[in-house]
């Protein structure tokens, strides 16, 4: 009852402590949902993904050995689940452009020009290859540092830097072309 840190809760949950597991979910649901939303761009999809992640964690948590911060590890699981979910769905819906979904993003309050640019950037981000898109979302969206993002994507820290710069190039091309339909 008295534990606080994620690692303490995880340890207890691994030993079958239901309350600890429930606490973990309570604490991280918001982050799971947020990240899922960034990927799917729809509230209902994001909620579905978040539920899937919660259920998945029951089995997955045994495999967590403290190699990364729990939150980073969870980011990784969430992103993978979101990607799989979305792939399935896109296939199912015969939708080709994931960017369409991102129209669901509400327009930013304030300067309309800024919000237009933001919306363009979002669409371009949505068109990035999965790995690049993940890196961008983790670092620029969730504010993770490169190490944390690397842990989430299970790659080297340098790879994240490379992906970010690659993503930036793609975004430039995309924005320069301005050919977003």
């Amino acid at each position: 009852m008295e534990q606080l840190s994620d690692s303490d809760l995880v340890e207890r949950a691994q030993k079958g402590d239901r309350q600890a597991f429930s606490d973990l979910l309570q604490r991280h649901y918001q982050n799971i949902y947020k990240l899922a939303y960034r990927w799917c761009g729809r509230q209902d999809d994001a909620q579905d993904v978040a539920q899937e992640v919660c259920v998945k964690l029951v089995g997955a948590i045994a495999g967590y050995r403290g190699q990364a911060a729990f939150s980073s590890w969870l980011y990784g699981i969430t992103l993978n689940a979101a990607r799989d979910f979305h792939r399935k769905k896109v296939r199912h819906d015969k939708r080709e452009d994931t960017a369409l979904d991102l129209d669901q993003f509400q327009t930013t309050v304030g300067n309309p020009e800024n919000s237009l640019i933001s919306s363009l950037i979002r669409r371009c981000i949505a068109l990035l290859p999965d790995n690049l898109r993940m890196a961008v979302i983790l670092v620029h969206g969730e504010g993770l540092n490169h190490l944390q993002a690397a842990q989430a994507q299970d790659c080297a820290e340098g790879t994240i830097s490379w992906r970010l710069s690659q993503a930036r190039k793609n975004l430039h091309t995309c924005l320069d072309r301005g050919d977003i339909s």
Binding site: Q26, Y33, I117
Partner: protein, 722 residues
């Protein structure tokens, strides 16, 4: 758009989380429920194939859960209910065989448990506990008898499920609960059953008749209390809590508020332990929490009760010292214990020097939790109003900055002088739960802002407000405490304000505030916000002494036993008293601190510990008439070497009649009695809430703000809930 135009900040803006709509609360609930169900199933699987004893217990647990879920939440899928009942039937069918083995096994377990208890508490085992253990044994014995009846019930119960191939309706459950109750009145119903570990074979035997009721209890421990009336909840909660104290791995605690409380201070033999040492504590969080629980219709968990914080919640009109360099003056009284006519209370009251803080400037940084859970009315909105009141009470030169954190952290308001009040208020108004700003860790940010406005000698303080979701960037709590301690040494202090319920992490709050030279207060309503943030703002913001430790040496010639009421979390080692490296609590301007010992005088009859048959090995050396000797160590705010105040406690301090005492002292003892009663009342004998009400009513004194009157109404409420 040109290549050079794309900045990181553009990408960040595009991904700004303000644009993410909040999730639906029901979605979160569903997700967590789904996961927990899976979790239960997995846990069950894990234990499959292990010993016979565990198996039936786990099955029953599962039944209770499922039936509980079903009663509480009819929309649960039909499949689940059918399977739930099917397992129930299975167990009932197995019962005859199980009953033969299990009571014996269980009884063995109980005797193991009680003997280990005895070992642990050789000196101090409370009669009450022994009775409880005996009671449980008696239960087991009597439960062996009603087997035939249990069998009859089984027959009654089997056909419905076997023949009706439909999902049972609530009415059919009602029928179940209406079945003959006769001998089955679950004696343990209020106590053992609600908690998983206490589910035992006799319970299984009683199950058919009391299934609905047990399921309710079980459901309660699954936090599904919302459908139970407040009265019922209170009925259930109290014994449940007592049992929970005895259970180490209490997975099913009724509530996620976290409290740390070691064993209640035991009675000490003066011969063996003549010296008692502790740190002062001016926190008040426990009282507010207790009040909130009682107002919500339930008695608080005993663990949530820290008596010293309840006592220190109230201000007492002890005589004040007149000079700042000798910042306090102890007030001593020895008087008959209200709840025990054989013992005496030794009352030690300290009031801090009160100075008018004209010269000092305050640089405050509010570090505010804006995570989704803060959105309810008793959290962020209350906090905003409280902080506005505080801003109104600050001086024009003072500065305020605001940092928020949720998933990420950000500065909402750079240090702003209170002259620009409108700007500060506007920033507070803009705060919204759920949103988050990109950035580094909240607490780092708060400290760097505090550093930027740092003026040596002024008040540099971070005020952290949270409901317990403590994702400020550092997840390792020891690292966090270390950091706060480090910053404290550089002159930036930290206070913690707790809000809300259900997620409140009391222990961490307390620890953080202790490490940060600050107070931890729990704020449950606007009045409390005013009390903590405005009325006591000077006390809370201007420490007059730090690391204040109290040591009392009892004279074994005069006092044979003593017991410190409360301060369990503040105990210090005897040798730490003089060690200036050991941290202790601080006292602010005008603060009062009260400590109460219950003592047995030599020659009296109040001793709880029987004398040794072969006499004591240590002969008392002193023939002094002094009863005890009080020492207080403290450091002035800017000094590192401690100073000492000491005073002998003598017969002249003794008063024979409670009515000769000041109302402040009597009131303090009433609060002490209340705290002890809420904590289980181990030492308070027959003293009832009504007795406390009488005592408190006679000692309300001035009560300018009505706090003592509120205390009395709280007592009445508690009395009706017990």
């Amino acid at each position: 758009m040109k290549k050079t135009d794309l900045k990181d900040s553009d990408i960040q803006n595009a991904l700004n989380s303000d644009q993410i709509p909040a999730y639906e609360k029901t979605a979160k609930q569903q997700a967590i429920e789904a996961a927990l169900q899976q979790f239960d199933e997995q846990t069950e699987k894990k234990f499959q194939g292990s010993s016979l004893i565990q198996r039936p217990i786990l099955i029953t647990a599962n039944i209770f859960k499922k039936i509980g879920d079903w009663i509480m939440n009819i929309s649960y899928s039909q499949m689940a209910t059918i399977s739930g009942l099917a397992i129930a039937v299975l167990v009932v069918a197995l019962m005859p065989q199980m009953q033969e083995q299990i009571p014996a096994i269980k009884e063995q377990q109980y005797s193991v448990k009680s003997s280990s208890q005895l070992r642990q508490k050789t000196e101090e085992i409370a009669a009450e506990e022994e009775v409880a253990v005996l009671q449980k044994r008696a239960d087991i014995q009597s439960a062996k008898k009603p087997q035939p009846q249990a069998a009859a019930v089984q027959r009654k119960m089997l056909p419905p499920v076997a023949s009706y191939q439909y999902a049972p309706t609530p009415e059919s459950m009602a029928n179940l609960s209406a079945m003959p109750q006769a001998d089955y009145d679950v004696a343990a119903g209020g106590g053992g059953v609600g908690v998983q570990h206490e589910v035992n074979a006799p319970t299984i035997a009683r199950m058919p008749t009391k299934m609905a009721r047990i399921a309710k209890l079980e459901a309660k421990s699954y936090n599904r209390s919302r459908l139970l009336g407040a009265q019922q909840m209170a009925e259930i909660a109290q014994p449940l809590n007592r049992v929970a104290d005895h259970i180490e791995h209490d997975q099913f605690a009724e509530n996620r508020d976290r409290f740390a409380k070691p064993q209640e201070n035991p009675v000490r033999l003066t011969n063996k332990h003549p010296v008692s040492t502790f740190s002062v504590d001016v926190d008040t969080a426990s009282y507010s929490f207790v009040r909130r629980q009682i107002n919500a219709g339930r008695l608080p968990q005993p663990k949530a009760v820290r008596i010293e914080e309840m006592i220190n919640y109230f201000s007492y009109d002890y005589p004040t010292p007149t000079v700042a360099n000798r910042p306090f003056k102890p007030t001593i009284a020895l008087y008959p214990t209200p709840w025990n006519n054989k013992t005496q209370l030794l009352h030690i009251g300290i009031k801090g020097y009160s100075h008018t803080p004209i010269s000092k400037k305050s640089n405050l940084v509010f570090l505010i939790d804006v995570s989704g859970s803060m959105s309810s009315q008793d959290k962020l909105p209350l906090l905003k109003n409280g902080l506005k009141m505080l801003v109104d009470s600050l001086k024009p030169d003072d500065t305020v900055a605001i940092v928020v954190y949720a998933g990420a952290a950000g500065t909402v308001l750079e240090p702003t002088s209170v002259k620009q009040r409108a700007k500060i208020i506007a920033a507070l108004d803009r705060l919204q739960a759920g949103g988050s700003t990109a950035g580094g860790a909240g607490i780092d940010l708060a400290y760097s802002l505090a550093q930027s406005g740092f003026v040596k000698g002024d008040v540099n303080r971070i005020i952290l407000a949270t409901d317990g979701d403590f994702n400020v960037g550092i997840t390792d709590k020891d690292a966090l405490k270390g950091m706060i301690e480090q910053k404290r040494k550089s002159g930036i202090f930290l206070s913690v304000l707790g809000f809300g319920q259900g997620n409140y992490n009391d222990r961490l709050m307390q620890e953080l505030a202790q490490n940060g030279n600050g107070i931890a207060a729990y704020i449950d309503n606007l009045n409390e916000a005013r009390k903590v943030l405005v009325q006591e703002a000077t006390a809370n913001l201007f420490p007059i002494a730090k690391d204040v430790k109290i040591q009392v040496e009892f004279n074994p010639e005069q006092i044979s036993e003593y017991r410190l009421i409360g301060y369990e979390t503040r105990a210090l080692k005897r040798e730490d008293f003089k060690n200036d490296k050991v941290d202790a609590g601080d006292i602010g301007s005008g603060h009062t601190v009260t400590a109460i010992y219950e003592v047995s005088l030599v020659g009296g009859t109040g001793q709880l510990i029987s004398p040794l048959r072969y006499g004591s090995t240590t002969k008392p050396r002193s023939k002094s008439e002094e009863l005890a000797y009080l020492k207080i160590r403290y450091k002035l705010p800017n000094e590192t070497k401690s100073k000492l105040i000491s005073r002998a406690i003598v017969k002249d301090d003794q008063v024979d009649d409670l009515n000769q005492l000041s109302s402040d002292i009597r009131f303090g003892s009433a609060v002490a009695a209340f705290g002890q009663l809420l904590g289980g009342g181990r030492y308070t004998g027959d003293f009832s809430y009504q007795d406390i009400i009488k005592l408190a009513n006679s000692s309300k004194g001035d009560d300018q703000f009505g706090y003592r009157a509120e205390f009395v109404s709280l007592l009445r409420l508690a009395d009706s809930l017990k």
